[in-house]
Each structure stands twice: as structure tokens, then as C-alpha cells.
């Protein structure tokens, strides 16, 4: 597969018994791109992402992430990616500082680097007063922004975000996307799943998943043009529920 793609998948499939969660999906992602995975609940977004992260071994097909094979080189993939799951990923019973220190340490940052990163992130997120507070005492929006910052603490090539803004208010969501753009500016590739259609508009390219397959893949503008509609919401409705449309 060509080296110019940071992620490339060919006929990637995952079956759970007789149920096919992800059905022969193929796509390529370029470095620095914000690549969106859209779809209804259960369309296979999370399963696809978990395969790319090395959390789930594919049933068939090929894929490379940062040049590493998703079957055999999962541990090398893990060194080069950041990941933020749907479920909350920080330790609620540790403080802001301790969480940053812990994940920094897990990714092999030195003590000095951890210290610097901690100060940098606390300044960036403007949470000076909360540095020694337990995570469970923070509002959800702060937690999500902190979780994202920690997911890219080791400056990975790619960051995978699985429905990162679930349950967050629109203003915080906007701020969250500003952070995503900043990361993309630093050439971090962003792979994000969502079912918020306004968020879809922020992505560079969108892949629409329906029943485990990629039903459409293009920039938001071209997708709207292709389906002759004005919003991503309408594109989604046309694709996800063709019968009822």
C-alpha cells in the first residue's frame, strides 16, 4: 500500500459469529486530515475504529495504520496513536495532575517532560485552580477537553476519537473542535466518529456508514451536492433510511 496514506484499509471486515459488524470497508486517509466516520448507532463505526487501534483483530481484509499492519503490529500501532473512547477514559479518583502524569508516564515521557506537559496543558485548558481536584469534581466539558489533551500527550501521528462530544453542550463542543483543528494544524491526523450532523460539517472528508458498509465517502460539500440537499443531516437521512425517505 502507498506510503502517502497514514491509514489505509482494504476490504476490512469484522464478524461476531454470524453477525457482520463491519463489511468490507475500504478507504485511505492522508496525514493531517480530519476524517469523519458517520453513521447511526450500531452501524459499525466503533468496531471499525477498534480494529484500526489494534483493540480488535479483523476477521478479514487488510489495513495499515501509520505504516503498521493491524494483524501483526498492533503494539507498534499503539505507540503512534492516541485514543479517546466513548466511555470516559480518565481516572475519576485521581486529580488532574495525577492523570496527566500517569498517561504521560505510560507513553514513556520522562519525569521532566511530564512536568512540562502538565504545566502546558493546565495553562492551555485554563484550569489552574482545578489542578489538584479529582476528575469526578470537574464538569463533563472540562473532562472531555482534558481527555482529548491527554490522548495526544505523546504527540502521536494519529488520534482516534470515538464520539468524543457525547452529552456536551454546544459551546463546549465548539471549543472541543477548535482543539481538534489545532491538532490537525500540527499535522496530527484526526479520525473521529460522531452522530452529530453539525460536527460532520467540520470534517475534511466524511465516510457514511450504513449497516457495516461505507455508503458514501467524500467532502461534506460534495456529498451535499451529490444528494442534492442543503445539509449533512439530509444526506444522512437519505442514506441511513432510504425506504422511509
Amino acid at each position: 500500500m502507498e506510503d502517502r496514506y497514514i491509514i489505509s484499509a482494504k476490504d476490512l471486515t469484522k464478524k461476531f459469529g454470524s453477525f457482520t459488524a463491519v463489511d468490507k470497508i475500504s478507504f485511505e486517509v492522508e496525514p493531517g486530515e480530519i476524517f469523519g466516520f458517520l453513521g447511526a448507532n450500531g452501524a459499525g463505526k466503533t468496531t471499525a475504529m477498534r480494529m484500526l487501534c489494534g483493540l480488535s483483530i479483523p476477521t478479514s481484509g487488510k489495513a495499515t495504520v501509520a505504516g503498521f499492519d493491524v494483524y501483526k503490529q498492533t503494539e507498534s500501532i499503539k505507540k503512534n496513536i492516541g485514543y479517546m473512547s466513548q466511555k470516559f477514559s480518565l481516572y475519576e479518583d485521581l486529580t488532574v495532575k495525577e492523570n496527566i502524569g500517569f498517561y504521560g508516564g505510560v507513553y514513556g515521557l520522562s519525569k521532566q517532560q511530564r512536568k512540562e506537559k502538565t504545566e502546558f496543558l493546565i495553562d492551555l485548558l485554563k484550569i489552574q485552580d482545578a489542578r489538584n481536584k479529582l476528575i469526578k469534581e470537574l464538569p463533563l466539558g472540562w473532562k472531555q477537553k482534558l481527555a482529548f489533551s491527554i490522548a495526544i500527550i505523546h504527540e502521536p501521528k494519529i488520534v482516534f476519537l470515538d464520539e468524543p462530544t457525547g452529552g456536551v453542550d454546544p459551546i463546549t463542543r465548539r471549543q472541543f473542535w477548535d482543539m481538534i483543528y489545532e491538532a490537525a494544524d500540527r499535522q496530527v491526523t484526526v479520525f473521529v466518529t460522531t452522530h452529530y450532523m453539525d460536527e460532520a460539517e467540520y470534517c475534511g472528508r466524511i465516510s457514511m456508514m450504513v449497516d457495516g458498509r461505507i455508503a458514501a465517502l467524500d467532502t461534506p460539500a460534495k456529498l451535499k451536492e451529490q444528494f442534492g440537499v442543503g445539509t449533512m443531516h439530509e444526506v444522512f437521512v437519505k442514506l441511513a433510511r432510504p425506504q422511509s425517505a
Partner: protein
């Protein structure tokens, strides 16, 4: 190495931030030792009994007074009707009825023998056995007394006199016997429950997924998870042992270092069990349930409360593969008998082999990807 250190730091932060943990670590052994070692005894005192004395003779009154003047029995009721006396069994007011038939004294004086009947409430079989022993020994003593005192048959004085000597626990102090067993139970609980629950908790809150997507290696994760509880377990054993020695005057005839050596390897076995449980469960509830199932089985068949020797053969075979039984036996041997390294070597070997087998199984079952 530094990754492991980072993991350990995080675990200890979380463990000691848990408000229940510090009291648990210090009060659990204290309460267990205080309550269990005093409560769990095979000795029965203050057994209430009823008397049905149809003879109303000097001999019969003497016999009853032997019971009441012993430390074990308290007279509950005197009646002249056996049914009435047995009524007390239902309410548990009495556990023994001493039935003295008419002509008890007369038979003895004329024929040289007579009969007395004990009716024992045997709901609790082991208690019934003990009551039977006490009642028999009192009667035997009484028998010897009247044979000597009464001039009826002076030549029939018993010639054979048995004396007892209890080795390794001369006063038959049950605390001496219980404390080693309770320490075994303590470290076992810490090893299986705390470690297993800790891993499953990460699954429950979803952080394990975050860890699985980092470059942490399997062995680092497992050491990071288990080592804290190994340290706490060993600390608890030392703490509990000191409580036993200084508060309860339990002897320690063998080497404390030998105990530490055995305990170190034993902790490895129980931690492997805890980890194994965590790999087959997804919630703390499930983990708790499975761990309890095995724990109750191991504990009841572990010889802490009832001797393994009195179990049927098949159960004794199972007990051989029960780490609690092995450790309990070895602990008692070292503490009460001063057994040496070579004496407990079979137990040590068993721990090494079973620890390696269980840990391999647990590590194999734990997966970073599926």
C-alpha cells in the same frame, strides 16, 4: 521499569484514596483475630441440662451435683417426667437430659451396677459429641468415687489410670490454634478479592480500554496490578502475626522468615486466582460472586475451622489441592511445632507449581485485543 513504577504509583494513589482502605487494612486483622479466635472454639461451656431424678437418693443427688459443680453444665430444670424434660430441646433451653431411673442406688448396692441415661440434643452433631464426652467423663469420675468410697466392692478399684498430655498446645487454648488459620484467611481474602475486583473495576469504568490502546506491555500491566496487593498482603500478615504474638500470646516456635518465604509464594498463588477471576468476568458483582464461591469452598475445606483429618478420604484428596489447606497446615506447623524448612517443603513446592500454572492461565486469558 519506569512504566511499572508509573503504574504502581497510580495504583497506590487509588488504593489509599479509597476511604475504606486504611481502616480495612488495620482493623480487619484486629477484628478477625479478636472475634474469630475467641468465638470459634470447640470447647463448649455453660451447657444447660435438665434432670429427671426418679430415684431421689443420696447417689442420684451426688451425681447431679457432680454435673452442676463442673465448669461445663448448668442445671436448667428438675422434673419428674421425661416428656416434660425433653420439651426444653425444642426451645433450646437445654441440650442434655440426665435421666436417673428409680432404684438407681438400690441396684448399685445390691447388684454392683446400675444405669443412667443421657438424652442429647444432636442438632449440632459436633456439639453433641462434645457434650457426650463431658457427661461421660463426669460419670466415670463419679463412678470411680463411689466405688472407692462405698465399702461395697473395695477390690474393684480401677487399676488402669489414663493420664493425658497435650503436645504443642498444652492448655488446649483454641486461640493458639485459631490465630494461624485466621491469618491465612486474611491474606487469602486480600489476594483474591482486592486484586480481582481492582482489575474488573477498570473494565467497568472503561479505563482498561484506554490502557489497552497504550504501549503498556501485558506483563507490566499485570505486575502493576498485582504487586500492590502482594505488598499489602505481606504487610497484613506481618501486622496480624505481631498482634497474635503480643496481644494473644500465641507462640511462634519456628522461624518468622520461613513464614514470610511461604507467604510470599502463597500470595503469588492467590493473586493468580484473583487475576484469573477478573479475566472471566466483566463486572465487580460477577467477580465477587465467583470469588466467593471458591473462597467459601476453599475456606470450609481448608482445615481452619474443622480438621481436614476428620473429612472423608475424597475430601482429604481435594484438600491436598486446596492452597488454603496447605498454607494453614504449614502455618500451624511452623508456629506451634517449630517445623523447619524441610517440613514445609511439600507445601512450598505445591505453591510454586500451582502458582506458575494459575498465573500462566491468567496471563494467557488476559488480552489487550480481541
Amino acid at each position: 521499569m519506569s512504566t511499572i513504577f508509573v503504574l504502581l504509583k497510580k495504583e497506590f494513589l487509588q488504593i489509599f484514596r479509597n476511604r475504606a482502605m486504611i481502616p480495612l487494612i488495620f482493623f480487619m486483622p484486629l477484628f478477625q483475630l479478636l472475634i474469630l479466635s475467641n468465638a470459634a472454639t470447640y470447647e463448649i461451656k455453660n451447657i444447660k441440662f435438665n434432670v429427671v431424678d426418679l430415684d431421689q437418693s443420696y447417689f442420684s443427688r451426688e451425681l447431679v451435683s457432680k454435673f452442676t459443680s463442673s465448669n461445663y453444665f448448668i442445671l436448667n430444670k428438675v422434673s419428674f417426667n421425661i416428656e416434660e424434660a425433653e420439651e426444653s430441646f425444642k426451645t433450646l433451653d437445654a441440650r442434655l437430659v440426665v435421666y436417673i431411673p428409680k432404684d438407681f442406688e438400690k441396684d448399685f448396692r445390691t447388684n454392683g451396677k446400675s444405669e443412667v441415661q443421657f438424652i442429647i440434643n444432636a442438632e449440632d452433631a459436633s456439639a453433641a459429641g462434645i457434650i457426650n464426652n463431658y457427661a461421660n467423663s463426669i460419670t466415670r469420675q463419679y463412678n470411680a468415687d463411689i466405688v472407692t468410697k462405698s465399702s461395697v466392692m473395695p477390690d474393684k478399684t480401677p487399676l488402669l489410670n489414663i493420664t493425658y498430655s497435650n503436645w504443642y498446645n498444652p492448655e488446649l487454648d483454641y486461640r493458639t490454634y485459631m490465630v494461624p488459620g485466621i491469618l491465612v484467611a486474611l491474606v487469602t481474602l486480600i489476594g483474591t478479592f482486592l486484586s480481582g475486583m481492582n482489575v474488573v473495576k477498570e473494565k467497568e469504568i472503561g479505563t482498561i480500554e484506554q490502557l489497552n490502546v497504550t504501549p503498556i506491555k501485558k506483563y507490566q500491566f499485570i505486575i502493576g496490578k498485582l504487586l500492590p496487593f502482594w505488598i499489602i498482603g505481606i504487610f497484613e500478615l506481618i501486622f496480624g502475626l505481631n498482634l497474635g504474638l503480643f496481644l494473644f500470646d500465641v507462640p511462634l516456635l519456628g522461624s518468622p522468615l520461613l513464614i514470610l518465604l511461604l507467604a510470599s509464594v502463597y500470595m503469588f498463588v492467590v493473586l493468580a486466582i484473583g487475576l484469573l477471576v477478573s479475566t472471566v468476568t466483566n463486572t465487580q458483582q460477577q467477580a465477587m460472586f465467583i470469588a466467593w464461591f471458591f473462597m467459601v469452598l476453599f475456606m470450609l475445606m481448608g482445615g481452619i475451622f474443622t480438621p481436614v483429618e476428620s473429612m472423608p478420604d475424597w475430601a482429604q484428596t481435594i484438600a491436598y489441592f486446596n492452597p488454603i489447606a496447605q498454607f494453614n497446615k504449614a502455618m500451624r506447623m511452623i508456629m506451634l511445632k517449630g517445623s523447619q524448612f524441610k517440613d514445609v517443603l511439600p507445601a512450598l513446592n505445591f505453591f510454586i507449581v500451582s502458582g506458575i500454572v494459575l498465573m500462566t492461565l491468567a496471563v494467557w486469558r488476559y488480552r489487550k485485543s480481541e
